[in-house]
Structures are given as structure tokens and as C-alpha cells.
Assembly symmetry: C2
DNA sequence: GAAATTCACGAAATCGGTTTCGTGTTGACA
DNA sequence: TGTCAACACGAAACCGATTTCGTGAATTTC
């Protein structure tokens, strides 16, 4: 390894003290012009870069934000990351990205490692297994240590911190209402198990829209996907009933539904209308393209990090957790009949 | 902010020296069992965590790997990240992810910031604008500073460092050869401008396959997409000729091609066969599903970080840059006729 | 010409750990 | 009883910066 150039090197080489070098490089008025020039040009010539670890240790801040996601090969989470990085970058922060892979143990471990001073704050979307366990003590400990934390998308009330969520109930309502409005009589829903909060909330919206339209909700029309089993088989059950509309809580479920419908010889959207969630590439490029709820992941990411940085930089303030709800839009495409 | 508990706190509280505390926590034989127990249980009770910044500064290593990508809302890069994180994690490293957004300036800036000691090494895929500029001095400086660097996917010869690439020529050959074999007579190619090395290499493979099959290559059959313009319009030009096969260098181009073919009333795969690149969700879920070259991004990520960690941990070795070529597979789906 | 400022710089503490080296106490052994 | 090793712990240097405070010399002020 080539010899790293430090303040000490410069000081020795130029016969001055380290304090003088430091001040000169920071353009302090205490240092005479001549000395300053000499030091600066020397530093410049040897491409001196202050060691950030030393600065971080001294300033007790890293300008790094930890981000823990359940997964990333997923359009929504990718866009959230972009949003986070975008705003963080504007504010001079960097992001450290980790994945829980939906695994409780890995989430706990990652949280533990990141909370030892290597980041100024954390943005997290909770792993499925954790939501299932309902064990949030690792987050609660974090909050007690006063480490700034912002949860997004998958959140729980037990943790006292800032949160960013999409208006899942509203989105579920919007999607279902649209299906009712275009004339669907029997609308199925494809969702996640109950412990995944977002799935449960979207279902609430679904039911609300049906009740409002005086349609009886039918438990057999709601499929809760177990991802450990074969997804297509589970969805096929829904087709045993005479459905003419489907609301799926994500792109993959919607795409699978569409494929099954086609295989059964149904015409989309004339025989059956399908609405998905997450405005990703699948919805955009499949044919017919899929009407979907756009979650605005980029905005969510920006909002999350904006909230976090505010917490980090004004830590003295009284703590009053905020919850920001991002509205979502229905993006009409070809998988639904046009509204009359 | 709650008072952070440090070694000094423990030492003061227990009436011992900081060295004793440090040794006790590291289970040194120098410390008596009684003292050790006392210190350990105290530390445990107050949930002491050693400040990682202090350790990093002392050990002169951060156990962090910087990753710079052109973008992330892209199946290939997402899977590479997963691969990187997966292996890094096994080896006790974390990753710091940044994006160049295909922008030269941002790449330079990010490289500058990350090379000041905050990471032990870097994994980068070069931004398009940089490839266009052909200005790689920021990378060359990095190498001269002996900061371990691994390039992947988009690489250039000018930079002396380890590289991981897919066998782009081979992949282009494989795809085109398959199209020839199933009977396509006029095969178009949809690629990137020449400065994007991967596009150029895949084209070489395409041409090689055609020449081998005694098919004359025709410049009009090759469309170089300018992403700043409307993609569909550019692809449509290709259909003015009587093509019966298309090889596209990514998913998006392939999906667009398929859509246009459908709009023109062509049957896929009977009238025209289409092969894409990147085995992402679009290829999997569109209908018909798209035959594609699977790049094995996860493997690439793991290989890249494996190489990098080896460089980091054996820095004394003579430097002899390696180039690892990852082979890619043709994943047959519905957009191509079955081989007879 | 003595006192007060200003100027330009250095010594040392600090951030939170690790590690080397030194030292006082104890026990064993001759 | 004197010697020496083993034991248990502390002092201080170190990683690479910043920053407070102090100080000698030059300059200004009365």
C-alpha cells in the first residue's frame, strides 16, 4: 500500500505543527498568507484528502444513513432507494444499504451492527417474518437509544417513531370502487396473509368500497397468498367462481392473474378487469398493460429521508413522532374497461 | 441525546482503567476472572457497544465496500447488488450503495468522496456518459492510490484493475445462432450506441453468428437506440423491413419490439421470433413470455465482491489484474419457435 | 519607552477504542 | 529469607483529524 498522506506528513515535511496545517487547510485567519499558500499547494500537489473516519469520530457524526429493506429485486423498493439516495445526496449524506431478506434474525443482526455509531440514523421497512412474529423489541431498543429511525411502507404502531406510509386503505378503496363503477359484479381480491399490514389495509379499502356499493363481501373471493406455496395454483381457486374483476395487492399477483385468465380463454378487459399494485415495469410492458395503483416510491423515499435528516439535525427538539401518508393514484391502462 | 456509554464510562464507574476494561471485554488472559466478570456484566447490563468509528480509525479499515451503479431500477443491477450484499455479508462487510445516474460528474464526485477512507474498496459499473466521454482519469487516480477496485459489466481496458464481465460476444452469438437455427432468415438487432461496450460486444456476437451461417449482415437491420428519443419510433423503423427475428440487448427493447409486432398483427413466435437480454420480471411475465439471455447477476455480484475482498485482505501481493468472464445462458420461453 | 494589541503559530486535549510496556504484589522455590 | 516468575492491572502512545488556549515576537498606542 502506498503511504497515505496525512496532516502529520505535511507538518513534518514542511516543518510546521499539525495544528498549523489543519488551520491552513481550513483557511483560518490565524495563519499567515505565506504559510497558508505553502501548505495548501503542498497538500494539493500530493492530493491530500482528510481522513473521513477521523472527522467522523471527532464530530460524532458520519453523514451516513442506514437503509434496511426486505428485498430489492422489486420495483417499489428500487424506486424508494432512488428517492432516498436522491435527497440524501442533496443534503450531503450517503446511504448504507442492507437487506433483511424478509428474515427476522438478519434484521436484528443488521440493526445491531448499524447502531454502533456507523450511521446517523436509519430508514427501515420491516421484514415479513418480523411482522409475523410481532417481536419488535430490536426496534424499540433502538428508539430508546435515541437513534433516529424512520419506518416506511411496512410499519407498526408498537414502535414510536416517524413513519411514511401509502394510503393503503384509500388505494384499495379507489381500485375497488373503479371496478364497481365500470360494472364489475363479482370482484375478487388477491392479497397477502393478515400479518402483512399493507395487505390487510388494502383489503379494508376493498371491503369499504364494496359495502358502500351495497355489494355483499364474500370471504371466498379473497385469496391470501402463501408465498411458500405455488402462487398460480392458489390464484386459480379464485377462478372457480364467476368473477369479472380482480384487485391484486402487487404486480406479480396481477400478472399471474392475467396469465391464468388468458389461459382460461377470458378476454381482458371485456370478460374480466384486473387492477394491480405498484407501477412497475411488468404492469407497463405486459400486454395488455395493467391498470395499477402507483405508489410513488420515489416520493416516499425522499420524504422518509427528509424526515430522518430533520430528526438527526435537530435532535434537541421534543420528540413527537410524525406519520406521513402518501396518496396513491390509479393509473389506468388496458387491463380494465374504460369508465363510461 | 441519551449519554452514550463508552469504555471510559465503564472504567470510571467501576474504578478501573480503560485498558483493563478493553482487555476484559476482549476476554484477555491478562485480566483476573473476578474483574472480568464484573466488567462484562456491567457492560452487558448497560448494553455497551464498542464505537465502530474508533475501531475503524485504529485498524485502518472500515469493513465497508462502496458500490457505484449507473441505476438500480433495473433487474440486472438489482440482482448484482443482492449478490454483492450476500457475499459481503458472509465475510463481515457492509455495502455503501451510490448511484451515478449515468452522469459523469456525479460519478467523479462519488468516487472522490468514497475514496477518503470511508470504504476499503470499490465495485463500480461505469456510467454511460463516462463511456461516451472516454475520460477515465478518476478511475486511474484511484488505482494509483492503491484503493482496491473491481469493475463489472461495463468495463474498459484503460483502467488497470480486476474486472467481471459477462461473455457478451458469446451471448450475442448464442442468441443469434438460435434464431438462425429455428429458421429465421432476416434477423434484426436492437442495440445501444457504440460507446456502450456491452452493446458493441453483443453486436459482434450477432455478426459472428450471421457470418458463420453465410448470412450477409445488413447495416439497416441494426438499430442503435438513442434513449433520449422515443424508443418505439426507432424500433418501428426495423419493421419496415421484412424481418422474422429480433435480438434486443435488453428487456425493455425486447418488450417494446414485441408490442410493436403485436400491433402490426404479427404472430409471435410464428411470424417473428424475439430474444431479449436480462432475465427479469418483464421477460418472465409478459405474454408471450420472452426468450432471453440470463446474465446471472447474482453470481456476478458475488464474484466481484469475492475478488475485491481478496484484494483488500492480501494487499501485499503483486498486482496482477484478473478478468473473470461469466457465461450466460439462453433461457427459452414463448417468444421464439421451439428448435426443431 | 513602557504597556497593550495584534499576529502567527505550537502544545495539548479530544473523539473511543487497542496495545505495548511497565510495575507492584503474590507465591514458589532454593 | 532472598530471588524470580507469574499474575493482574495501569500509564501512555496511537489512529487522524479539530480546536482551545497559550506564548513569543512584532507592532501599535499613550
Amino acid at each position: 500500500m502506498k503511504q497515505k498522506i496525512t496532516i502529520k506528513t505535511i507538518a513534518r515535511e514542511l516543518g510546521v505543527s499539525t495544528s498549523t496545517v489543519s488551520k491552513a487547510l481550513n483557511d483560518s485567519h490565524e495563519i499567515g498568507k505565506e504559510t497558508k499558500d505553502k501548505i495548501q499547494s503542498f497538500a494539493n500537489h500530493y492530493n491530500y484528502k482528510p481522513n473521513s473516519l477521523a472527522l467522523q469520530l471527532r464530530n460524532q457524526k458520519t453523514k451516513v444513513i442506514g437503509v434496511i429493506l426486505p428485498k430489492i429485486v422489486h420495483h417499489f423498493f428500487s424506486t424508494v432507494i432512488m428517492g432516498i439516495e436522491s435527497y440524501a445526496n442533496e443534503k450531503g449524506y450517503h446511504i448504507m444499504v442492507c437487506f433483511s431478506n424478509e428474515d427476522y434474525q438478519k434484521e436484528v443482526e443488521t440493526l445491531r451492527v448499524l447502531s454502533n455509531g456507523s450511521v446517523d440514523g436509519l430508514i427501515v421497512s420491516i421484514a415479513n417474518e418480523t411482522l409475523e412474529n410481532k417481536d419488535f423489541s430490536h426496534f424499540i431498543d433502538l428508539v430508546e437509544e435515541d437513534i433516529p429511525l424512520v419506518l416506511f411502507d411496512r410499519v407498526v404502531d408498537d414502535i414510536l417513531c416517524d413513519k411514511i406510509v401509502v394510503d393503503d386503505v384509500g388505494a384499495g378503496y379507489k381500485a375497488t370502487k373503479y371496478l364497481v363503477d365500470i360494472g364489475c359484479k363479482k370482484i375478487g381480491m388477491i392479497t397477502t396473509p393478515d400479518h402483512v399490514s399493507v395487505g390487510a389495509l388494502r383489503r379494508l379499502g376493498y371491503e369499504k368500497a364494496l359495502i358502500e356499493s351495497y355489494v355483499k363481501t364474500d370471504k371466498n373471493l379473497i385469496i391470501k397468498i402463501d408465498e411458500k406455496q405455488d402462487i398460480k395454483k392458489q390464484i386459480e381457486q379464485l377462478f372457480e367462481q364467476n368473477i369479472d374483476g380482480v384487485f391484486a395487492v402487487n404486480e406479480i399477483y396481477a400478472a399471474n392473474t392475467m396469465r391464468i385468465a388468458k389461459e382460461k380463454g377470458l378476454n381482458i378487459p371485456n370478460d374480466i378487469s384486473i387492477i394491480g399494485f405498484t407501477d412497475g415495469l411488468i404492469s407497463e410492458y405486459s400486454s395488455p398493460s395493467i391498470t395499477t395503483i402507483a405508489q410513488h416510491g420515489f416520493t416516499m423515499g425522499r420524504q422518509a429521508v427528509e424526515l430522518l435528516i430533520e430528526r438527526i439535525e435537530n435532535e434537541t427538539e421534543v420528540f413527537n413522532p410524525k406519520k406521513i401518508v402518501i396518496s396513491s393514484d390509479l393509473k389506468l391502462r388496458e387491463s380494465t374497461k374504460p369508465s363510461s
